[in-house]
Every structure is written in C-alpha cells, then in structure tokens.
Symmetry: C2
Subunit: 416 residues, 2 copies
C-alpha cells in the first residue's frame, strides 16, 4: 500500500465496541456508496473515457500553445491546482488557474499571457457560476480584440453539463470545443472527470497514472478510508470541532486545500437526510511541516484540547546532505552527515510526540513516495472517507444548500 | 483612517456593560503596553535606525546582486513574505524566503539561484534555530564551492541577537555583515525590526512608508485595536473557539498567514501570568474571498455556530470592466457595465449578509486602499490588538513555552 494509516497512540481504539460497530457500519456504507449509480465519483478510477476525450480535444486545438488558462472556482479549480503544484516539473505548458475575481489578479494575468499561444478552458458544472462567466466574458473579449473571432473560438474549451445550462448553449451555438461534467459527480469530487483530467492531460500530466493510483486505492484501501471516517466522526462527537492537517511536504500543501473544500462542504451540514436539524461539521485547518511548528504548535499544545490531528509524512524523499560548514562553531556540528529528509522526519516525529505527550489525539498518514499514482490514491481515499463520514452522520455529503443565499444576495446587488 | 472597523450587526454590543468595562480595561492595557520598555514592538514605528542600518549594510554588499535569499522560519519569514507578495511589482530584486527544510524545495532553490548574484540573509533571533542553521550550512557550502570563501563571506548578512548566540559568534569571528534583533521584540512582532526591514529595503521596498503607516495607526488607531481585542476575548469566552479571517484580496492573503502566527502563538496559552491553569486560545482559520465562498461557506453557514468572522475588504481597487461579450446568451448580460471590483464587493456583501442572516457574529475591516502605509497600519493594529487581548486573558502574549518539547525530541532523534 502506498498510503498507510498509522493510528500511533490511538491504536487501541480499535478494541472499543463503539469503534467496531461504527467501522462495520462504515464498511457497509462504503460498499453502498461504491455500488450506487447515483454517486459517480467511485466509478471514475475505472473510467478511461475522459482521458481519451481530453486527448481528442487536445488534438483539435491549435499548435504552438504554451499556456492553458483555466477559468473556474472551488471544485473546478482546486483539483488541477493540487496536481499542478505537486508535479510542476512535469508540466509541458504553463497552467494558470484563475479562481478569483480580484481585478488586480485578472489585470496581471491578462498582461502575462499571449492570446495567440493560450487556450482558455472555462469550467462550470451548472454553466452559470458568476466567477468563470465574468472571467470568460473578459478573456474572450481580450482574445477577440487581438486575434479576431475565429481564432479566438478555436482557443476555447468549455467544460460543463452535457446538455443543460447557459455554457452548454454557448458551446453548441458557437461550435466551441466542449467536455462534459458527469451529472452524478459534484464539483468537489470532480478532479478525475474532465474538470481535472483535461487541463492536466493537456499540460503534460499522465492522468492515466492518477486513475491507476485511484483504482489501486479503491481495490485495497477501503479499510483505511473507513477507519479515517470513523475517527473523524468519533472525535467530532467528542467535542473536537477542529481537524488539523499537518502536512510535512511543500509539494502536498495544495492537496490540503483541495481536501479542506471536500471536507468542509461535504460534512458541514444543518439537516440530516430526514430533514431533522442536526448541525454537524468540524472545521479543517491546514498546517505545513516543519514551517508551522514555528507558527501554530504553541496553540496546538497549550491551547484548548479541541482538535484532531492528522499528520502527513512522505517516506521516500530526495537526498540532500547537510554539509559540514561551520562545524568549528557551537551548535552547528550535530547536523553533520544528516540529510534534510532526516531533519524533516525528526522534526515531524518530535512534534507528534510532543502533542501526544500532551494528550492530543493524533494519527499519521505515511505516504510511500510522491508520484502520480499516490496522488490518485490520496484523491480516492479522502473522497471515499468523506462520503462514508457523511453517511455516519446520516447527512447528505453531496449537496451544498448553504451557499445559495449569499449568491442570490450578490446577484441582487448586481441588479440581476 | 485608512483602516476602519465596521461592527455591522454587532454594533449594539458597544452598549453592553461588559463590553464597556472590558474596553476601558483594554484601553489602559494598550497604554501600559505602549509605555512598557520591556515591550519593544510599540516603539518601532518611531524608530528609523533600522532603515538606516539596512541601507548601510546594503551599500557594503557587492554590486550586481539580483536575488536575496532569506533563511528564516516563523516570525523570521512571515513578515517579509507578507510584504513581498503584496507589493511584488515594486521589488527591485528577487526575494526568496526559504522557510522549510523540505529537501525538494531546497534542491530547487539551489538550482534556481546564481551564487554570484545572490546575497544570503540568515535570520534567527536565538542564533540556534535548526532550520536556518541547517540551510545556512547548505548554502554556505554551495556558494563556497562556486565562489570561494572570500566572495561567499561578502554575500552573507546575519540577523540575530546583538551579543548572544551561536550565529553572533559566527558573524564576529568570520567578520560577516550583521544586523540585530532587539532583545525586547519577539519573532512574531519583529517585521519592523531588521528581520523584516533589511530584506524588504534591500529588495526595493520603501520601508519608511511601512513605519509611517504604523505610526499613523499607533497615534489614531488605539480604539480600533482595543475593540478588536475585546471582541476576540468576548466571543472566545462565549464558545467561539474558531476565528475566521475572510480576506477579499489576493494581495493581502499572506497578511492572513502572518496574523495567524501572531494570533496563535500569542494567545494559545495554558497558564496565566500567575501560573494558574487557564487554557485559552481560539484557532485562526484563513479564507480567501471570493474563492473560498465555493469551498468553506457551506460549513460556515450550516455547520456549528463556533466561529467569529472577521472580513477584510479593500475599498479602492483598480477598475477592470467586464465587457459585453456573449450578451445574446441567457445569464451573461447582467454583468455588462460592471467592474470586477463591483462584482467582488457584491459577493463580499452577499456572503456577509448570508452569514448574518444565519446569526453568525461578524465584523468587517474596511481598508481604504492597499499601499505600504496601510500595510504598516495593519501590522501595528493587529500587533497591539493581539497584545491587548493577551492582557485581557491575563496571559503573557509574548512567550511560547509550548514549542520547546518538540524541538528537544527532534534534536535527540538527530543525536544532539
């Protein structure tokens, strides 16, 4: 297994009756979720159709493109950003993901790109998300002024619902290249659909390896996902309303951002499936190791005992030796002969032990090595875990009713 | 005032007796903190010595330098990163802040720099922080191999305690250029000392403007800081153990990271000043507007009522018009004639109202415009607010006893 869950001092929880009952329940839920045709994300690891579609679309795009500009937000952005930043060295094109409407950023992106060498991929499942729509209006206009209508239309890929919505109409009427977001996959579960697959594949990432890793995880990682779900459930019920992801890897940091959306939107819910008010949802917090040892560990150790900690550690890292310079000075020589990997691991272990010594609940994910397969594994593992945890709460992990009101008020303020 | 605190629906809290008593107490604490010679950060806005020192050191460095590599972590890194990312267009040199020991990142930074054109600024108040020490060993060696000893030593600036510690000894014995971290200013309060002033000034930032803004805030912003401190205190006592900073600005996002360290390390404490166990400390969470409306607002509105929200909005932004493209299609024309700034503001207002309609406590910081003076103002405002809040808790906001144990365990694991 490329991702191993180590319960450390919590190992004995597996002997508790409550844990065992929840685990059994969770395993049944996991099977139910994987069987349910209305839930699409579990089928994606076996689905090579979207990779083929992405390749076919790529072939129809103009030659000489060096930049892909993704216009999307939330689930339409976080997956591509996560994989891009982890595998930046494998990219064959610059991949810009514009997931805000800050005029400063839009202005800077506009200045930085050459329309002739850029393809726009606008992504919105509903086809009416205001951020990508407004960005699309802006960049279409920018391209049209410079390249003319025909050349601009050749440089657009629309990713949206297969038949419904405003963007689908645009794609059809203007004969713009398009891809589908499957109806049974929500935005935050969509990284292995064309939402994530097209931008990544087009920019040189071997997305088949992502799928391969996700499939391995699906076939052999159910217990890991369910154990994680049960722990999330149990510790939240015990008053830990904060879940800290402490990620000891610069490259995996954006995986944390992706996970926080998945976790927050799926599990932060007011009503259960029967319409009964339940109000649940831990708040995810992201910390980077070792950096945030110098920023958050004071609070984590001495502040209130309101957190469940999930550490993430990469076992195999590149070897970079700490050389012997300044050994004649006090405090410099004990690092001689060590690698930065050993230093990072020792600091991770030290921080975990210090938290455990203070009685903080803590688990550790050991990732064998960072590669596209383990990334695919992480994606599937945490998608399934989150869905199972939602079922344990008896809430719907796949909707997000709480985001509508703010959108409506904003639209009204804009005179819609 | 360039930073205005709007209490919105919480405005009436000012009529509460408890608020008023705490506010009076807080005002006295603020005066006490500003008067106390043992607390140095409040004197920094009037202190132009460090700018002069930075300029003097800059003049003694070799010509033709295009990159500054800062080796520091926590409070030795976050301030420079915050200002750098907000004013990236004003930088005259590339400013790399290496605040992790991930071998992947160190390897990449090593590949990306040209030692001949790079200056190293190693920062550690104590002079023995393991991360900058190990990085310093590594980059010193890298430079020495390429440039030789003499040219390498010319390209180093050490920022540490004025007389104590291992790094001070290195600076003295090897006659390396050095700067002081004043003894009465802790790492997380040190951005306006040589810790932040040197890297920023050397890379082209007019740090006098930062000080000017901080001074303006000091002279006229005490009520704002104390109001914020009282609200932090009161809502934490009422069970809001999470404080969300919702920042509607790409450029200000790292201000949030800086603030989270200040807030977490200063206020997350187990014992009060009398050694009595009190255990306090809200956990800060960072969200970016509008982006995280599509990631966290579901949880914020429908999840538990355990959060105090502080929104940050920039009033004056550049005008970027949303053009009329695709107006013939449904759902595209209502944005015509609007700017991205208006869209962003409407979404901010919509999100705030939606949260207020759900009864969530929320305040709004209105920032007139982003410039170096308002940045200086933000720095002073939140440093003072955090210190005052610590005094309301009767804890020491200036220490961090909880971070030692993990460091010791790590050192032991490394064979120290």
């Amino acid at each position: 297994m490329s991702i191993k869950l180590d319960l450390r001092k919590l190992e004995s929880i597996k002997n508790d009756k409550e844990f065992q009952l929840l685990f059994e329940k969770g395993m049944k839920f996991a099977e139910e979720i994987e069987r349910d045709d209305a839930i699409g994300f579990t089928d994606l690891p076996e689905e090579d159709r979207y990779v083929k579609q992405a390749k076919a679309v790529a072939e129809r795009l103009p030659e000489g493109i060096d930049t892909l500009l993704v216009l999307g937000i939330g689930g339409s952005a976080l997956g591509a950003k996560m994989v891009r930043d982890c595998f930046s060295e494998e990219l064959s094109k610059k991949l810009i993901v514009l997931d805000n409407v800050d005029p400063y950023t839009i202005h800077n992106v506009a200045k930085s790109i050459n329309p002739e060498k850029t393809v726009i991929n606008v992504i919105s499942k509903s086809g009416s998300t205001v951020e990508p729509i407004s960005q699309f209006k802006f960049f279409y206009n920018l391209f049209e002024v410079e390249l003319g209508r025909e050349e601009t239309l050749k440089r657009i890929v629309i990713t949206t619902d297969i038949s419904k919505g405003n963007l689908r109409k645009v794609a059809e009427e203007l004969e713009i290249l398009s891809l589908e977001v499957p109806e049974n996959v929500g935005g935050r579960f969509s990284v292995l659909t064309p939402v994530g697959i097209f931008p990544l594949e087009y920019c040189g990432i071997d997305t088949e390896l992502l799928l391969k890793g996700a499939l391995k995880q699906k076939l052999s990682g159910k217990e890991t996902a369910v154990t994680g779900a049960v722990l999330d459930y149990l510790f939240y019920k015990q008053g830990k309303n904060i879940k800290v992801l402490f990620i000891y890897s610069d490259r995996l940091y954006r995986f944390g951002e992706w996970y926080l959306q998945l976790f927050g939107e799926s599990l932060g819910k007011r009503f259960d499936r029967n319409g009964k008010e339940v109000t649940v949802g831990a708040t995810g917090v992201l910390a980077k190791g070792v950096t945030d040892q110098h920023s958050q560990v004071q609070l984590y150790r001495e502040g209130p005992d309101d957190k469940l900690f999930a550490f993430f550690k990469v076992n195999k890292k590149i070897d970079v030796l700490i050389p012997e310079s300044f050994s004649q000075f006090e405090g410099f020589s004990y690092l001689n002969g060590k690698t930065f990997s050993q230093l990072m691991d020792a600091e991770c272990e030290g921080t975990m032990q210090a938290l455990e010594n203070t009685g903080r609940p803590l688990i550790l994910y050991q990732i064998e090595e960072i590669n596209l397969e383990t990334m695919g594994g992480l994606i599937y593992l945490f998608e399934l875990q989150t869905a199972v945890c939602g079922y344990l709460y008896n809430i719907n992990p796949f909707d997000q009713p709480g985001v509508e009101e703010g959108k409506l008020i904003a639209k009204k303020l804009l005179g819609y």
